[in-house]
Symmetry: C2
Subunit: 193 residues, 2 copies
DNA sequence: AGGGGACTAGATAGATCGCTCTAGCGGTAA
DNA sequence: TTACCGCTAGAGCGATCTATCTAGTCCCCT
């Protein structure tokens, strides 16, 4: 017996953030889409939209990190893991008519100058991604500084590719970014010998 | 005798877009910031916010392309040109307390699913950047397909680095992305021999 | 049985949204 | 002068925004 309503609100919010961003998503719109009662919104999130946004960001960030692990774990090596991750992102984009991109990026750009708590939430999420990717690269033999730089570069490429793919309604940028990320990983691994 | 008011409105809109995004920027806020009369807004932009947004996107895109050319032209080669461009972007971010990032990226993510005219404007801008960078790479010896992929990869890295740098309030991602863009350019130039 | 807390339900406040409208200003041309 | 037109000026419309508020429902626990 889960607190299904709260989860449903967060999941719906994440999906709306991906399509319309933070300021573009309304509270009424959220409860309508989530088929949740309006009163529950401020019951579960007394801090209002900012709190809902923060929890949505952190949860989405965690889900993406787990998704990355889930793809990277069974992969024979990190190179093919990274390639699969980017290919998967491209496939999702295509399936959803380029609507379901990363929910963090849009919000991160919007709120960086308006809400310090939300900005910190996006920073924490990106940091956790960088740490996760760095750890994996180090485990496969990259130097600490090389691993971190490669991780940052990969994530920047991923997010930038989301922007371009969404604007073009094309998976080309995501495929190109994926190959670029693969090259970055290879370089980080081989430079340490 | 320029139509100074119209230009001032567009410039102000571009700056507000960078900080607050498309939906986060209000029409009243624009005229207040631009010190322009409200009536002039709908005189110059009878198409309303969507028209103003479109003109702002296209003009900002053109300015950024010209900025890239202005940095790349006097550079001894494209590698140092690219490096200078990323270093310049990092410096601007730091100077403005990470507020003045790319005005296109934020809007592109926000409007891709809500306004086809605006989405097309962002796509046109990104395309013009890709074409400009591709031409330069080809001129220095890269293969056509290699040049295009490198251009896409560079721009994706740039935009992704804007997101991360803004979220972290740090220039580290921009510097890392710059070095990786340099590596991408080098690879595109040397692979064609 | 009954008390209490978690949750639902929605009307509504107060502000702000994009936009329209009319009125008037100032310079140019007939 | 008079007529015209590009532009200024801002009041105000209907809609929508976030958030608050009261009332009511449900179910567990004693």
């Amino acid at each position: 017996m889960p607190a299904a309503t709260k989860d449903r609100i967060i999941d719906t919010t994440a999906e709306l953030f991906r399509r319309y961003g933070y300021t573009g998503t309304g509270m009424k719109q959220i409860v309508a889409e989530a088929q949740a009662p309006f009163g529950s919104l401020y019951h579960f999130f007394p801090g209002g939209k900012e709190q809902l946004g923060q929890e949505t960001i952190r949860r989405s960030g965690q889900m993406y990190r787990e998704l990355f692990e889930a793809i990277a774990d069974p992969a024979p090596d990190i190179v093919t893991g990274v390639r699969s991750f980017f290919e998967g992102a491209a496939a999702v984009l295509e399936e959803t008519d380029y609507a379901d991109a990363c929910p963090i990026a849009t919000v991160a750009l919007e709120v960086a100058s308006t809400s310090e708590p939300l900005r910190e939430a996006t920073a924490d999420v990106f940091n956790s991604w960088i740490d996760a990717a760095t750890a994996r690269l180090e485990a496969e033999g990259a130097s600490p500084s090389g691993a971190r730089e490669a991780a940052i570069s990969m994530i920047a490429s991923l997010e930038g590719a989301f922007i371009l793919s969404r604007a073009f309604k094309s998976t080309e940028p995501m495929h190109v970014a994926g190959e670029h990320a693969v090259a970055v990983v290879r370089r980080a691994l081989t430079r340490e010998e």
